[in-house]
Amino acid sequence: MGLGRYMARRFLIAFTTLFVIVNVQFFIFQVVNPVDPVRLMIGPGFTPETRQMLIVLYGLDKPLFERYFIYIKNLYTFTFGISFLSRRPVIVDILSYLPNTLYLLGLAMIFRLLFGIISGLTAASKRGKRWDVTIVSIGLISWAMPAFILQLLFRFVFCSQLKWFPFGMMTSYPPPTAPLEYLKDLLYHTALPVTTMVAMGFGSWAFYTRNLLVGVLTEDYVLTARAKGIKERIIVWKHGFRVILPPIVTMIFLGLPGLITGAIITEYIFTWPGLGWWLVHSTMNADYPSVQAMFFIYSILMLLSNFLADLTYGYLDPRIRVGMRR
């Protein structure tokens, strides 16, 4: 019951926030926006009639009030109107780009966590030794170093100079038809962006995990466990990792939005046909229906990740779970 009410409250807050964000967006994009999208759509050779036709076609002649309701309806029914740029319903574009982004990010996230947590745990259990120092320095470097530097470097060395990896897009063109061949081709194209994302991301995870675990390993109950003669590995897993899991999971969810926006630059560098690449493209071309849709999706993802972070924290941390029951 306690968890249900907690969830319901969180959900309500998230929904209200989304509503406010949607309104802010409408205000920014349709009320104060000084750019005339139609002017960007048509060339100088177009007649005023064509211009008028486009304005009517995209509903830009309707009063603001009516446009607001159309906008709200479009967002909450996930249709998002028609893109100025591709002249297709925005949802079609999104559905073609979203899986690519999710695939890239999912893969990158899994490997980041895997490498990050394992090396962080190792570093903490060997505190002060060479391994620990290495992990801490890598963490600091990847914190200070903008991700795109490594990506530029990898693209330069492995794509442009050595030509070990293909550059740009997800598959060769035309993509191979046999499923096994397709998978091979896909992985071949994925390797470089994912590697760079993992290399840039895992250091901070390792750093974070290490610092959490170092704190835990100085606790009295760890001392007790050590005194009982329990193996160090078991102490790290059972007394350490279990305790630091809630903040880690929370961080995973809280880091999701950053991961998504961070992918914009990765996708731009490797011309990966994902949401981020498309966002830059449509922002550049003042394709506001698409940009609005992207904002909506990004906001939902943000809210969702915050919501999930709250939820898992509540679920994984017994102190909070008990507190909620009360």
């Binding site: 964000i21 914190w143 170093m145 943000m302």
Partner: protein, 512 residues
């Protein structure tokens, strides 16, 4: 009494600062960070002095010229570096009837904006026999490199007081080596489509007093089409292939200028001025960090970019820290409704997709550096205000605050004397961290092509590099020097903030 109090306080503060510095000095990472930041600050201030060129100068060398120090490798040993010289002619063949004098034209009279000439020439003819006459001016130079990618010559000339005479001016390049050869580069009668030496004399039109500018360059099609037949090239005519034939070896070369006159009667006269002759060899190796696609010096652009990045970092960080601290302190200290409103605002802003929003706003309201700074500051204070608020909340419950309240201190007094001093270290550390954040955000924006087009920032250099073929042509110096600069500068601030954190945060201080 009051003044001695103040003196004691000052002493305490000084000893505190000294103690802090003692502790900071022992932190190696912190010192490295501080050194990096100082280096960049000095660079920013000295930019006009230490930058070898103006950042807007183009055509300083060949596009994508290698850094000069790459000549240390044997493969690049003979790469030409940029040479710009005055052509210092001497008279090789004179004629009794032609007066050749050395003058130095006043740039004002010539109407030039700038001239650097050491030698201008005046060729005068005033009556004599009616045979064709010729004089020859020559300038020799040593060419110690492999064949050059582009060479240029330029000068101005004019004819005045012309009467009953035909004239012709010709510039040619001569190779003195084992197989001497002479290539005609330009002559005053040359018309496109007549590749053979067209040495007809002409007098049909004069240019009056205004000196005409002649520019000969092996990357101009007109100059190439004249030179190519002379070296026997029929196809694959590029500046490089033609110059390979013209400069097959290191050694002595020369530029010769002929002035030929063809008087039609005994009272013929004319005066020809050759002004500001210049010879430019565009090097394939240039400067410390090479050139970009326009032949602009990358090091200079980098040096001028320091100021942009530093000021963005500092200004954005200061504004956002001020906003964040203010909101945090007010929230935590006033509490109640104000706190609720503030925290909901923070929640809301944190849920906005900041980076996409920045892209959209920048494109809508103009790509202006100040706008970008303003937006960055406005969208980056939220995290700090949360931390400050929680800090203030816990400080409010501390015993020393309670005792201050008990002894009748006002809210404002407590705020100024107890709360603010206690959150200062936190605020300062987080400011150090938000500086690289702002620098990175701006460079990401410029990098995606959303930066201020009037400002040469580091991100924009990388954006240019990506858009103008640095990757396929392997111009690593163009891509990576701004990238490394960005990294170094942000690393400096991260190091300093790390060190401050170690000193200020007692939990971290214990471990050593």
């Amino acid at each position: 009494m009051g003044s001695s109090m103040r003196r004691i306080k000052l002493k305490i503060m000084l000893s505190r600062i000294k103690g802090f510095w003692e502790e900071y000095r022992r932190n190696r990472i912190g010192i490295v960070g501080l050194a990096i930041i100082l280096f960049f600050i000095i660079t920013a201030f000295l930019a006009p002095v230490i930058s070898p060129y103006n950042p807007t100068d183009k055509g300083l060398a060949v596009p994508l010229a290698l850094p000069l120090w790459m000549k240390m490798f044997p493969k690049n040993q003979d790469l030409p570096s940029t040479q710009i010289s005055e052509i210092d002619f001497t008279i090789a063949e004179s004629n009794d009837y032609i007066d050749v004098e050395f003058t130095n034209y006043d740039p004002e009279i010539c109407g030039f904006l700038e001239t650097t000439t050491i030698r201008d020439w005046k060729v005068k003819y005033n009556g004599g026999p009616t045979d064709p006459l010729e004089i020859k001016l020559i300038w020799n130079f040593n060419y110690p490199y492999q064949s050059p990618p582009i060479i240029r010559q330029s000068f101005r000339w004019r004819v005045v007081d012309i009467r009953n005479i035909g004239y012709n001016i010709e510039l040619s390049l001569v190779r003195w080596g084992n197989e001497p050869a002479e290539y005609s580069l330009w002559d005053s009668n040359f018309k496109k489509g007549t590749p053979e030496k067209s040495l007809k004399y002409k007098e049909d039109y004069i240019y009056g007093d205004w000196p005409r500018l002649v520019k000969i360059s092996t990357d101009y099609e007109e100059s190439l089409s004249r030179i190519a037949p002379q070296v026997g090239l029929k196809e694959g005519i590029t500046s490089k292939s033609v110059l390979k034939e013209m400069f097959p070896e290191k050694g002595e070369y020369g530029l010769i200028m002929y002035v030929r006159l063809n008087p039609k009667s005994t009272n013929a006269s004319c005066e020809i001025d050759i002004i500001d002759p210049e010879y430019v060899l565009l090097g394939s190796a240039h400067g410390i960090l090479g050139t970009n696609h326009e032949g602009a010096d990358i090091l200079s652009r980098l040096i001028y970019g320091v100021k942009v990045s530093l000021s963005i970092g500092l200004i954005v960080a200061v504004i956002s820290v001020v906003i964040g601290t203010f909101i945090g302190v007010v929230s935590g200290y006033v509490g109640g409704f104000v706190d609720e409103v503030n925290m909901r605002l923070v929640d809301l802003l944190l849920c906005l997709p900041i980076f996409p929003l920045l892209l959209a706003l920048v494109l809508m309201f103009g790509r202006d550096l100040y706008l970008i700074m303003f937006l960055l500051a406005l969208l980056s204070w939220m995290g700090l205000s949360r931390t400050v608020r929680s800090q203030v909340l816990s400080l409010r419950e501390m015993a020393f605050v309670e005792s201050a309240i008990a002894s009748g201190a006002t809210k404002g007094y407590i705020l100024v004397k107890h709360i603010i001093p206690n959150i200062t270290p936190l605020v300062f550390t987080s400011m150090m961290l938000s500086i690289p954040g702002a620098i990175l955000s701006e460079s990401s924006l410029s990098f995606l092509g959303f930066g201020d087009p009037k400002v040469m920032s580091w991100g924009r250099i990388i954006n240019n590099a990506m858009n103008f073929g640095a990757f396929p042509r392997g111009a690593w110096w163009w891509i990576f020097s701004p990238a490394v600069a960005i990294m170094l500068l942000s690393a400096g601030f991260v190091f300093v903030s790390h060190a401050l954190d170690q000193i200020i945060n007692p939990r971290l201080r214990q471990r050593k």
